[in-house]
Structure formats: structure tokens, C-alpha cells
Symmetry: C2
Subunit: 228 residues, 2 copies
């Protein structure tokens, strides 16, 4: 917890300048220590060069600060998703790349990702706004494109997006929580999972199989007995 020299008082209109500095200091602490326990109001204040109560001039409480930190974090995600999708024409491949980019983004800074998915006070948070306006919208666009080409004929686009998100989040979250499992050293497992989510129903549908349990089971049984 390095103690910075005293700041000179900010000029009159620039209260939000310090707010930005506070968010950045909190982010840095989070990334450097990899542990949200390292982010105390006092530590953040000390790093910015200010006393703890000053934080409360810019954020209602600690949760609000962390919410702002996560909002800024997910703004970066939007850029990453855009970069991952750039130049990828096929929407299927694009969905996959965006999913992988999401996982990479999450595991790159575990502390930030973890904190973004903690319980937060009810009511609309900045994180949710940023997420729905950027990443969620971006993936929705890709899935909509896929749906337009005939994938998921009987499913709502929103459902597919949620499934994709849940899969990507599941891999990322579980990798962070249980890093000792046999994940391999690349994202092959994530890739396989995401591909299954994108294509599973499509493949079954193209085989003329509905997703009712009995039908699937019967079809598989037939395949197993007939094939090979």
C-alpha cells in the first residue's frame, strides 16, 4: 500500500477528475494483488494521495465504487469482442471467437471478473448497463445473424445468447475458482463447449431430430445400432 505524496487540491469544476483517479487506483490494486481484500477504502485513498473520507465525495459507498470499477472493466470487454470479431466474416466462427475472447478476457484479470459477478445491491447497476449496452448487444448481433441464416429455427435469439453467455461464463468462472482441474494450457475445452452450444441444436435439427428427450434417445439408439 504505497503512500503517495499529498495531492494539490483540484480546481473548482473538476470533481470528476478525482473520481476517475479513484477508479483507476482501485483497479490497479485489484489487479496487482489479485485479491479484493486488498481493495480497502483506505488503501485506495492512500494510493490516490487523499484521505479516506474523500472517496465518499465521489461514490456513495464502497459497492458503488466497485460497481464503477467493473463498469469500466467491461467497457474494455466491448473492445476485445470487437477486435475478436473483426475480419471474421462467417457469423458462426465469429460467435465462437467472441465467446473465446470473453473467456480470455475473464481469466486475464481474475480479481476483476470475480468481483463483477458478486452479489450486488438490488437496483440497476452500472455494470449491468454497460454489459447490456456493449457485450450483450454485440453477441446478440452475431446470434441474430446466425438466426437469420436459419440456425435455431425454433428458438428465441435471446435464449441462445443467454446460453452462449452462460457457457462462456461457466468456463471462465470455473477455471478461476478451480484452477487445479485439468483445463489444459489452452482454451480447447472452452472452444469445444462453445461450439457445442452454437451448433448442438442446429445439428440435431438438421438431422430431423427434435430436442425432446425420447426422440433424441430413440434416434441415438437407432444410430448406434444401425451405424458402424
Amino acid at each position: 500500500m504505497r503512500s503517495t505524496a499529498k495531492r494539490t487540491r483540484s480546481p473548482r469544476g473538476s470533481g470528476e477528475l478525482l473520481a476517475e483517479e479513484i477508479i483507476e487506483a482501485a483497479s490497479e490494486l485489484l489487479v496487482e494483488h489479485g485479491d479484493d481484500a486488498a481493495v480497502s477504502i483506505r488503501a485506495v485513498a492512500s494510493r490516490v494521495g487523499v484521505t479516506p473520507p474523500s472517496i465518499y465525495l465521489h461514490f456513495g459507498d464502497k459497492d458503488e465504487l466497485l460497481d464503477a470499477v467493473c463498469a469500466r472493466y467491461f467497457e474494455q470487454l466491448d473492445g476485445e469482442l470487437a477486435a475478436a470479431a473483426a475480419g471474421v466474416d462467417d457469423p458462426l466462427e465469429r460467435a465462437l471467437q467472441q465467446g473465446l475472447a470473453y473467456v480470455r478476457f475473464a481469466i486475464a484479470t481474475p480479481a476483476l471478473y470475480r468481483i463483477a459477478f458478486r452479489q450486488h445491491a438490488p437496483g440497476p447497476s452500472k455494470v449491468d448497463q454497460v454489459l447490456s449496452a456493449s457485450a450483450f448487444t454485440r453477441i446478440s448481433a452475431t446470434v441474430t445473424e446466425l438466426a437469420g441464416e436459419g440456425f435455431y429455427p425454433e428458438s428465441d435469439v435471446g435464449e441462445v445468447v443467454l446460453e452462449l453467455w452462460a457457457a462462456a461464463h461457466g468456463v471462465a468462472s470455473l477455471m478461476l475458482a478451480k484452477p487445479d482441474l485439468a483445463w489444459g494450457d489452452d482454451l480447447r475445452l472452452a472452444e469445444t463447449l462453445l461450439r457445442a452450444v452454437c451448433l448442438g441444436r442446429t445439428a440435431l435439427g438438421m438431422l430431423g431430430v427434435d430436442t425432446e428427450p425420447d426422440e433424441v434417445r430413440a434416434w441415438l439408439r437407432d444410430q448406434r445400432h444401425a451405424g458402424r
Copy 2:
């Protein structure tokens, strides 16, 4: 934080009796308040009817207590998975039911599930032991059975189990973190996702399509242009 009457001192050999009471008190606090902030050493001690330092006679620190709480929690999961699998002969259907049971279990007590997947100090935790010895083993058995029937011909069983777990955890975790999304009021979305994970690769494999991006894309293009 109800303050219980003073306990009478326990007889000589029964140190572990209090340990059990402590775990249960902590679990109750967690479930009742739905918030891990409600579980303080002081609150737990007060509910048991004991002073705070007594907790440390039975648990090294707070994390160790919470680890024990989660371990006991996941012991129940093993029973739930067993119940969900009971009487389901088809391994495919069984995998699905176990996955759904996992999701139901998680969202039934959000506070407990959340706390179990927080960051914890490195080294083997009780939670991990319980998980790998019960739920993980149980799902592995089902997947092994599926693999024995010819599903996942080119995949390791461990990989498939991880994918299944990641998918179930992803849905559960995201439902808990973002309950305002359009999840519907049943677990249909989870079911679809789990089915895709169980069957996605199988279906593609049976179509004679490898999981390489180019191959899948080409195959889908052909299907789209040829079919309908």
C-alpha cells in the same frame, strides 16, 4: 442476530460437537439472510451461545469455517444427484437430470453456492475434496457410461465432465448473479444448454463432421444451400 443463552460447558471429549453446531449456525445465518455479510464470527458465536474466540478452538480462521460449511453443503449435493439419477436407466437422460439437479441445487440456496465458489486460500480445501469425491465422481460415472456407448469417441471423459460442469455452473452462477435476465420461470434454458453439451459433438460426429472450424462451416454451408 439472536443471542442464545449461555451453553453449559461441554464434557471432556466432545470438542467436535461444538464444531458441528458452529457449522450449522453459520449455514443457517447464511441461508436466512442470503448474504455472506451476515455471517460474522461474532454472529455465529452468538447464535451458538458462545464467545467469539471459542470459534478459533475449532477452526483456524473464518475461511476454514466457511470451507467446512460449504463442504457440508456439497455433501447434500451428492444426495440430490443420486436422487435425480435414481431410476433413470438411459445414461444420456441421467446426465441431463443430474445436470438439472445441480442447477436446482445451486439456485435453491444462492448464498451458499456463491460462497463455495469464491476465491479461497491455495492448498487443498474440504470443499474440493468433497466435490471431487462425490458430485464429480458421480457425474464422471454417467459420462463414462455414455463414452462406453460410443459417445465422444475422440474425447477424454474428463474433458466432457468438465464441460458439463462448466455449463451447469455457468447457468446457475449467471442466474444467481443476474436474476433479472430473461431466464423464464423453469429450467428450460438450462435443459437446452445441457442437452447441447451432451449431444452437440455426438451429433456432429455422427454426421461425419469433424469439429474443425472450416469443416463445420463448409458442412453447414452445404446443408443450407442443399436442404430445404
